[in-house]
């Protein structure tokens, strides 16, 4: 057992000397406040009121009976680990999204909301 001690020590030293890890965070940020949606009423609120509260949308899509205003931001987190001959990478991206539907008279009819960006996490790929 004693004769394996030195080679084992060398291998462990190699393992740690040639290992490294890295973390990264990317944010595609738009400063809309989703709690403001409580102040809006389907069937009454207008495009002007929505854009005054939430700002300019990230995208507008023309629909069969009006338009959809899309507010979107994202958070992504990346993790990289290099252990001598093995490397692991993990990338996790989630979105906060609000989609507001307007009729042809620019009155809000429906909206959908997903607040998921906070779920982006560092981690391993398994």
């Amino acid at each position: 057992m004693k004769r394996f001690r030195e080679p084992l020590f060398v291998l462990l030293l190699v393992f740690f000397l040639q290992s490294c890890a890295g973390w990264a965070k990317n944010m595609d940020y738009h400063p809309f406040d989703a709690s403001e949606l409580d102040k809006l009423t389907p069937g009454k609120s207008t495009v002007a009121q929505v854009t005054e509260m939430l700002g300019a949308p990230s995208n507008i899509v023309k629909l069969s009976n009006g338009n959809a205003y899309i507010y979107r931001r994202s958070l992504s987190k990346g993790t990289g680990i290099w252990l001598l001959i093995v490397s692991f990478g993990n990338y996790d991206k989630h979105y906060d999204q609000i989609v507001i539907f307007f009729d042809k008279k620019n009155i809000m009819t429906h909206y959908g909301i997903t607040l998921d960006a906070h779920k982006a996490a560092y981690g391993l790929p398994f």
Partner: protein
């Protein structure tokens, strides 16, 4: 007093062994997930009765919105990328010239998708879904694409 040869061995062996090993074999695993998990909705949604309002309450904001031939489309999607690679070679190029190297890499992107189509009145007209994440990585990437 510690022999300088012992110190030399402790410094140089790790460097030499490490340089050789990292040049010979490498293996990598990468995973990238974009978006939230897409729920199974087949039991809850009914064509002709489910409304746009109900869909938005259940699933939240869609990832894509589009209009196609008078129908409004909502698409919910999550993409899962898996990448792995194995390389084996002897780094002799500097001292020997030709050297051999074997490597194998693979990348697979799977999608979980829910597609909903609504009439202008906001009634569900079509529904389709795909659960790409249920396909195992190795088995899928090693299989031939079906015509």
């Amino acid at each position: 007093m510690v022999s300088p040869f012992k110190i030399f061995s402790f410094v140089m062996y790790p460097f030499i062994v490490g340089s050789l090993i990292t040049g010979c074999v490498s293996y990598r695993v990468i995973k990238a997930v974009e978006g939230r998990s897409v729920p199974n909705i087949s039991a809850e949604f009914r064509v002709g009765t489910t409304t746009l309002q109900e869909a938005l309450q259940t699933l939240g904001a869609p990832d894509q919105v589009a209009e196609l031939e008078g129908k409004d489309l909502l698409i919910y999607q999550q993409s899962i990328l898996a990448n792995s690679g194995l390389a084996f070679g002897i780094p002799l190029a500097d001292i020997w010239g030709p050297s051999f190297n074997f490597s194998a890499y693979g990348e697979l992107v799977r999608y979980d998708l829910v597609f909903l189509s609504f009439t202008p009145d906001g009634i569900l007209r079509e529904i389709a879904s795909e659960k790409g994440s249920r396909y195992p990585y190795l088995k899928t990437i090693l299989s031939e694409m079906q015509q």
